[in-house]
C-alpha cells in the first residue's frame, strides 16, 4: 500500500518534469507564431491628428518581404516623405541633416537644439519595483566636494532612521540621532513603509527621497551640507500612494499612482494634476514629451491606447491601436492538442501552470485514457482497484504527461489480480 502511494508521488514528479521540458522542446523546435505586423502611432502637431505606421509582411514565392505604410485614423494614406514633414518633432535630426527643418512650427520659432532639449521619454510602472529598504541619501551639495560624499546607506526602522557606515557595517549613531530628531519634529511616524528616489543621480541629489511613513503620509527627505531637510508633502488625494516615478522633464517632478488607480503629475511647485486616464491600476506606461505635448501610452492585451495632453496636462486627443491577435500556425494548434499545460516559474510569482484551451487537449486526453483503460483491462488489472482508477484519472487530466508518468512507474498487480490473470491458463 505504502509503495503504491509513493508510486503516485513518483508519477507526479514525472508529470512535473514532462510538463516543464516537453512543451519547451516542442515550441523551440516548432515556433508557434509566425511574423506579425508591427504598428506604431505618432501624434502630428501639424495635422492635429494621429498617424499610424504599419510594417506589413507579405510572403511571395516563399520569400518574406515587408513594407511600411502610413495612414491616419480616417484611412488616408501618406508617403514616407510627407510623414516626415507632418511629424517634424519626431524627425528633427533627419530633417536638420537634410536642411529641411523649418524655422517655425505652428507659429512658434524653433531650432533643432530647442526641439531636442524639450524631448524626453520615461517609463512609469504602476507596480513598485525591487525594494530592499536600504538606500543611499546623497547630499544636495555632494557634487561640490568629496567631503559631502556619503559613506553610508540608511534604513528607516520602527525606532528611527539608521545610517549604516558600509566600511564597518556599524550604525553612525550621531547622524542617525540628528535625522531621527528632524523626522520626529516633522511628525513623521516610524517606520517607513516605502521610499522612492530618482535613478538619475542629479535629481536624486536635488530631491532626495519621497518616503511614506507608517500612517501613510508622504514626506520628502533630503540632506543639504550634512543637515537633514524634511518636508511633509500633501498627497494628491485621500488614497494611499502605490508607486512614484520621478520626472525627467523640468515641469514634472513626479508621477504618482494611488491605490484606486488614479495617476497624478506632481509639478515643481508640488501642486498636482490628475491625468484623465482610465483606471491605471496595474498598468504601466510610457510618457514621452516634446515641445508641444505630453504623450502617455498605455499598452494592454492586443491593444495600445495613446493619450495626448498639452503642456498643462489637459487631454487633447486619444487613440486606441488594436493589434490583430497572432494567427496560430499548425505547430501551435498541434501543440495545444498535445500538451494540456506547461509548468514554469518566474522569479517573483513562483510556479505557474499555463493551461491550453480544454476543447483542444480534451479529445487526446480522453483517447489516451481509453487506451490506458484498454491496456489495464487486457493485462488483468482490476478496474475497481483505486490505484488503477487513479492512473486513468492521471491520464485524463494530465494527458500525455500522465501517460508518460504511469509508464515510467508501472503499477504492480495485486496478488489477486495476478492469480486472476493466470487462472484461465491453469
Amino acid at each position: 500500500m505504502l509503495t503504491k502511494i509513493i508510486r503516485i508521488i513518483a508519477v507526479l514528479f514525472a508529470v512535473i518534469a514532462a510538463a516543464t521540458v516537453l512543451p519547451q522542446l516542442y515550441y523551440t523546435t516548432f515556433p508557434p507564431e509566425g511574423r506579425s505586423s508591427h504598428k506604431n502611432i505618432c501624434y502630428s502637431e501639424i495635422l492635429g491628428d494621429f498617424i499610424i505606421s504599419e510594417y506589413i509582411y507579405s510572403t511571395d514565392k516563399k520569400q518574406a518581404t515587408g513594407q511600411t505604410v502610413c495612414y491616419d485614423r480616417h484611412g488616408k494614406s501618406y508617403s514616407r516623405d510627407s510623414v516626415a514633414r507632418l511629424l517634424l518633432l519626431d524627425n528633427v535630426s533627419q530633417l536638420a541633416y537634410e536642411g529641411r527643418f523649418p524655422d517655425t512650427i505652428c507659429g512658434i520659432a524653433v531650432t533643432p537644439e530647442l526641439v531636442s532639449s524639450e524631448a524626453f521619454s520615461q517609463y512609469h510602472s504602476a507596480q513598485p519595483g525591487l525594494y530592499y529598504g536600504l538606500c543611499e541619501l546623497r547630499d544636495q551639495k555632494s557634487y561640490t566636494t568629496r567631503t559631502l560624499e556619503p559613506r553610508d546607506l540608511f534604513r528607516i526602522t520602527p525606532e528611527g532612521i539608521q545610517f549604516i557606515v558600509c566600511a564597518t557595517n556599524q550604525i553612525d549613531e550621531e547622524k542617525s540621532r540628528l535625522f531621527t530628531n528632524c523626522l520626529t519634529a516633522a511628525d513623521f511616524r516610524f517606520p517607513a513603509l516605502r521610499m522612492w528616489t530618482s535613478p538619475d543621480k542629479n535629481i536624486s541629489e536635488a530631491i532626495g527621497y519621497y518616503v511614506i511613513d507608517s500612517k501613510n503620509e508622504l514626506y520628502c527627505l533630503s540632506m543639504n551640507q550634512s543637515v537633514p531637510a524634511v518636508q511633509k508633502l500633501e498627497k494628491p488625494d485621500s488614497r494611499n500612494i502605490r508607486n512614484i516615478t520621478f520626472g525627467k522633464s523640468p515641469d514634472i517632478r513626479a508621477i504618482l499612482n494611488t491605490e484606486n488607480g488614479n495617476m497624478y503629475i506632481q509639478h515643481p511647485d508640488q501642486s498636482y494634476t490628475r491625468l484623465e486616464l482610465p483606471d491605471s491600476l496595474r498598468k504601466s506606461g510610457r510618457l514621452t514629451g516634446n515641445l508641444f505635448y505630453r504623450i502617455f501610452t498605455l499598452p494592454a492585451q492586443n491593444q495600445q491606447t495613446t493619450f495626448v495632453f498639452d503642456r498643462n496636462f489637459r487631454l487633447v486627443d486619444s487613440c486606441t491601436l488594436y493589434f490583430q491577435p497572432q494567427p496560430q500556425n499548425t505547430a501551435g494548434i498541434f501543440g495545444e492538442f498535445l500538451f494540456p499545460f506547461h509548468i514554469g516559474q518566474t522569479a517573483w510569482e513562483g510556479f505557474y501552470a499555463d493551461w491550453s484551451p480544454v476543447k483542444r487537449f480534451l479529445w487526446l486526453n480522453l483517447a489516451l485514457a481509453g487506451i490506458t483503460l484498454f491496456y489495464k483491462r487486457r493485462n488483468g488489472y482490476r478496474l475497481s482497484n483505486p490505484f488503477v482508477i487513479t492512473d486513468i484519472l492521471f491520464v485524463t487530466i494530465f494527458g500525455i504527461y500522465g501517460l508518460m508518468g504511469i509508464s515510467a512507474f508501472p503499477l504492480k498487480k495485486s496478488r489477486e489480480e495476478i492469480l486472476n490473470s493466470q487462472s484461465p491458463e491453469l
Binding site: 509503495t3 509513493i6 514528479f13 521540458v21 556619503p150 546607506l153 516559474q345 522569479a347 510556479f351
Partner: protein, 229 residues
C-alpha cells in the same frame, strides 16, 4: 532492540560516507571562504559602499555567492553515491534487506542517515555563510540572499532522494528514465542570476516537493527486494 539496529545501521552508513561527506564539506567550506575573500578584496579595491550598492541595485544583479550554486548538490551527489552505489553494485545491500526487520524501516533508516548528513552540511554552510555575510553586510541584504540560497540548499535533498531511488532501481532503463526526471526536477531548483530574494513564492512548493521526494527510495527498494525487472 530497534535502537540498537539503528545505531549499527548508522555506524555502517557513516563508515561508507565519511570521506565523501568530509571531502565535500571541506570543498563547501572552502567555497564559502573563497566567496567572502573575493568580496573583501573587492571592498578593499573599490570601497564598501560601491560594492554594496552594486550588489543591491545593479542590473543584472551582482550574485557574489554564485559559486555556491552547485555545492549543496555536489554534497548530495557525493553522499548519495558513496552510500548506495557500491553497496548496490556489489549486491551487499541484500544483506541489509534480509535482516530481521522490515525493509521499509531499514531503507528509511539508511535514507534518514543520508538526510541527516545533508542537513548537517547544509546547516554548516548556512551558519558559515551567515557569519561572514552579517559581518560584512547589513541585514537588508542578508535576508534576501538567504532566500536566494534556499532553493539551492533544497536541491540537495531532491538530488539525494533521487540518487537513492535510482541506485536501488533494478532495471537499467528505468534508471535512465528516473535520471532524466531527476535532472529536470533539479532544474527547477537550481535557479540563479536573478535579484536577491527571487523565487520566494516558489519556496512552499519546493519544500513540498522535497518532503514528497523523501519516500521515493522505498518504491525502487521494494522493486529491488522483489527482484523485479
Amino acid at each position: 532492540m530497534m535502537k540498537r539496529y539503528f545505531l549499527h545501521l548508522f555506524y555502517k552508513e557513516w563508515l561508507k560516507t565519511r570521506w565523501a561527506f568530509l571531502g565535500t564539506l571541506l570543498l563547501g567550506t572552502a567555497t564559502i571562504l573563497y566567496i567572502f575573500i573575493a568580496v573583501e578584496n573587492k571592498i578593499t579595491l573599490t570601497g564598501a559602499k560601491t560594492i554594496l550598492l552594486r550588489i543591491l541595485y545593479d542590473e543584472p544583479p551582482v550574485i557574489y555567492y554564485a559559486s555556491f550554486l552547485y555545492i549543496p548538490l555536489l554534497t548530495a551527489l557525493a553522499i548519495g553515491i558513496a552510500q548506495y552505489v557500491p553497496e548496490v553494485i556489489q549486491k551487499r545491500i541484500r544483506l541489509t534487506l534480509h535482516l530481521p526487520e522490515k525493509n521499509n524501516i531499514l531503507i528509511s533508516g539508511m535514507a534518514g542517515f543520508g538526510l541527516i548528513l545533508l542537513t548537517l552540511s547544509n546547516l554548516l554552510y548556512i551558519g558559515l555563510f551567515l557569519y561572514y555575510n552579517i559581518r560584512l553586510f547589513p541585514e537588508e541584504l542578508t535576508k534576501p540572499v538567504m532566500i536566494s540560497l534556499t532553493p539551492w540548499l533544497l536541491s540537495s535533498y531532491i538530488a539525494y532522494n533521487f540518487i537513492a531511488m535510482i541506485a536501488m532501481e533494478p532495471n537499467k532503463w528505468r534508471k535512465v528514465i528516473y535520471s532524466v526526471i531527476a535532472y529536470y526536477i533539479l532544474q527547477l531548483f537550481l535557479v540563479g542570476n536573478e535579484p536577491h530574494g527571487a523565487f520566494r513564492e516558489s519556496l512552499p512548493i519546493m519544500t513540498l516537493m522535497v518532503l514528497l521526494s523523501s519516500g521515493l527510495v522505498l518504491y525502487s527498494s521494494q522493486r529491488f527486494y522483489k527482484g523485479e525487472k
